[in-house]
Symmetry: none
Subunit: 226 residues, 2 copies
């Protein structure tokens, strides 16, 4: 996940945050890593941000925050981290990864009849209360259209999806039909067929052969802003 330099820099920032409370400036990082210019640091920082190990405010001095540390931190280092903050361990070290990972990627929009727009590389994220997340991988989609309006899912809502290939009967899922059309629908299995049922009288339930339908995830949460 990280290169040596990126990793070293991340640990440095984390260390400094814990010892001083203030993150190092680019110049200080430059010195600490033994570089002669800041631009290298700039690129490392950019990578770390892209990979969501740190978060920052653009154009602000020392506006860096460590979001998480890499999982594979060597044992000795982990030991160190652990001893650094026994009581407040929740915010230090890798435990963050497990329970506090509250940002999930926003993959795009979903609407009846149109495929998801591929936004994945744009690196957009949505923050979600962690109690909304269960096990496994989650992502978010923006709902477009009114096909699920009777289930209280409105145009513009953000839905939280747990990645999964299976589904219980009657669950609301993200389903891929014929490999290109993605919809958010209630799913039922009836006599060897799969029914995708919208929650809007103006739309029709589609009954399809199981081969044509691939479940991509299960609806686990919904967020709406007014």
């Amino acid at each position: 996940m990280l290169t040596r330099k990126q990793y070293d820099l991340l640990l440095l920032i984390d260390k400094r945050l814990k010892s001083d409370g203030v993150p190092p400036s680019f110049d200080e990082m430059k010195d600490a890593l033994g570089l002669k210019s800041k631009s290298g640091i700039h690129r490392l920082i950019t990578s770390l941000e892209e990979r969501r190990f740190i978060r920052r405010l653009p154009h602000k001095a020392r506006a860096i925050e460590v979001v998480r540390l890499p999982e594979n931190t060597p044992e000795e280092e982990k030991e160190l981290l652990r001893n650094n903050g026994t009581r407040f361990r929740m915010n230090s070290s890798a435990s963050i990864i497990a329970d506090n990972n509250t940002e999930i990627p926003l993959y795009g929009k979903i609407a009846a009849g149109t495929p998801i727009e591929a936004l994945r590389d744009e690196n957009e994220f949505v923050s979600v209360p962690q109690n909304m997340l269960g096990m496994g991988e989650h992502y978010a989609l923006k709902v477009e259209g009114d096909s699920m309006i009777e289930a209280g899912i409105l145009n513009g809502d953000t839905v939280v999806i747990q990645r999964s290939n299976s589904s219980e009967n009657g669950a609301i899922v993200v389903a891929l039909v014929d490999g290109y059309e993605v919809t958010l629908k209630r799913i039922y299995c009836r006599q060897g067929k799969v029914a995708l049922e919208p929650a809007n009288k103006n739309y029709e339930t589609k009954v399809l052969a199981p081969e044509r339908v691939a479940v991509q995830g299960r609806l686990v949460g919904l967020l709406r802003n007014y």
Copy 2:
């Protein structure tokens, strides 16, 4: 996240709050940081407010509150903070967990026709994505009943309310009627009367004299778990 000055000032305010119960004035802060003018303090305070470390009331003397402390306060200082006072610990540790999720109090349930159950002292909290919150104070309510179902607000949903006494026409608000009945409704002002309109054909719009209705807050967000 913070520069040295910002960080020092934040700790100073926190310390004074805990030892005296009263935040320092601008002048006192100026002296404590060894500045020769208050304007610097003003700017530091502004940055701290921007970054949501403190909250303040405009035009009020010493109206500063510490919302949270930086994630990576050095251990010794944290130790101090822990021993000094529990006052703000809930808040700070809560937001430490996940910077992007703030915890707001869950005051109880709200339903057409029945008052909010007072849960306030039970100290229940709900975590919400920070981008759902605007300025001011927020709280959460659990929706009971189906009176707003056509607005996509279902039984069991959690609504996020921004405390406020006023409202725009057509907004969904928490309204207190005759001092005892609390409902979540769309509000309209018509010819000197106030209309509280449910989003369900089976319920009726109430038209009341303005004196009988007190707006308690404005709907700003909604959370649902499946």
